[in-house]
């Protein structure tokens, strides 16, 4: 039983120390690094998918290169939308 009470006092001291060293700040740094890595691919992926869809539709309707061009821009729009959306989500999580 003595061991347990010793452990709980030690835990208390450690918790105090952890609070002092502003653990939250550290946590925020890691998650914002993750966010930065996340945002960059979001944009690229949508443009890529849009262009692929445009290319496939072009092959179907034999209308090269118009649908590829149109869907490239639609994909870019979708990418911007995705980036804004995940940025909004991050903001909500930070508040």
């Amino acid at each position: 039983m003595k061991k347990f009470s010793e452990l709980s006092t030690r835990l208390k001291i450690a918790k105090k120390k952890a609070n002092k060293n502003s653990l939250n700040n550290d946590k925020k740094n890691t998650s914002s690094l993750g966010a930065a890595l996340k945002l960059s691919t979001e944009m690229v992926a949508a443009v890529f998918v849009g262009s692929i869809i445009g290319f496939i539709l072009d092959n179907w309707f034999d209308s090269k290169p118009w649908l590829t061009i149109i869907f490239f821009f639609v994909g870019a729009t979708a990418g911007i939308l995705n980036v804004i959306r995940s940025a909004k989500l991050m903001q909500k999580n930070n508040d």
Partner: protein, 244 residues
């Protein structure tokens, strides 16, 4: 060993060639490292849950902390409805994490630096989430593509944009993991090559860079596994609770 920085990503066959029809299903170094990471996960968790002490040992603490991390991640992002999917997300997170971390060992092979592996994982998630969405909401799941409060005139364009952004999910999920792992390992190898070519006089600077980059790579290996799992939770949240 070759100084070509891309040499580390070569997949080669181990043992005899096995083919099923036209498909080559031989055992490769990639399959070997997937099996190693799966076995590593099983043995760590077996050792961690063998003795359930009140004052945990280090390995028990590790398993308990990873359990809490994933369970908190699921309840924070996807709510209580996502609890039944805990085993899937937990094993996904652990698999990606162990593949990334095993890749950090010298002479090992990073499975997640191949886009086919990450894309297969992302495709499973994408198809699974779509099925879950349709099973829970029926045709109503298509409402995901129609944001509320959009004028009817703009609707055709918006729907196309929404569909593209939905289809972009597996691509961005897989490209993110693959690109981060591949870029990091290539960079490490390039700086390692500088150490050799500059010799004992000038090689100290790239050597210190390599040490620092190794630390960064370990952080990224964890972070990418975390991001992969948390995005799966976010997609699952869309499928379980339609909130558009």
């Amino acid at each position: 060993m070759s100084t070509n920085p891309m040499h580390q990503f070569i997949v080669y066959r181990i043992g005899p060639e096995i083919s099923l029809g036209n498909i080559d299903i031989s055992f490769t170094n990639a399959s070997l490292f997937m099996i190693i990471s799966a076995l590593a996960i099983i043995s760590v968790f077996f050792a961690g849950t063998r003795r359930k002490a009140v004052i945990p040992t280090k390995i028990q603490l590790l398993t308990e902390l990873s359990y809490t991390l994933v369970s908190k991640m699921i309840s924070d992002t996807a709510g209580s409805k996502a609890k039944p999917y805990f085993p899937f997300i937990f094993s996904l997170f652990m698999f990606v994490l162990f593949c990334n971390m095993l890749g950090m060992l010298p002479y090992s092979f990073t499975v997640t630096s191949h886009i086919i592996v990450t894309f297969a994982l992302a495709a499973v998630i994408f198809i699974g989430v779509t099925i879950i969405g349709f099973a829970n909401h029926g045709v109503g799941y298509l409402k995901l593509f129609i944001p509320s409060g959009v004028p009817v005139v703009l609707l055709p364009i918006i729907v196309i944009i929404e569909i593209i952004s939905y289809l972009a999910r597996p691509v961005s999920l897989s490209v993110r993991l693959f690109a981060n792992m591949m870029a990091g390992h290539t960079m490490l190898k390039v700086f390692g090559g500088f150490v050799i070519s500059l010799g004992i006089i000038g090689g100290w600077l790239p050597l210190s860079f390599t040490v620092a980059l190794t630390g960064l790579e370990i952080l990224i290996a964890f972070l990418q596994a975390y991001v992969f799992a948390i995005l799966t939770c976010i997609y699952l949240n869309d499928a379980l609770n339609l909130n558009h």
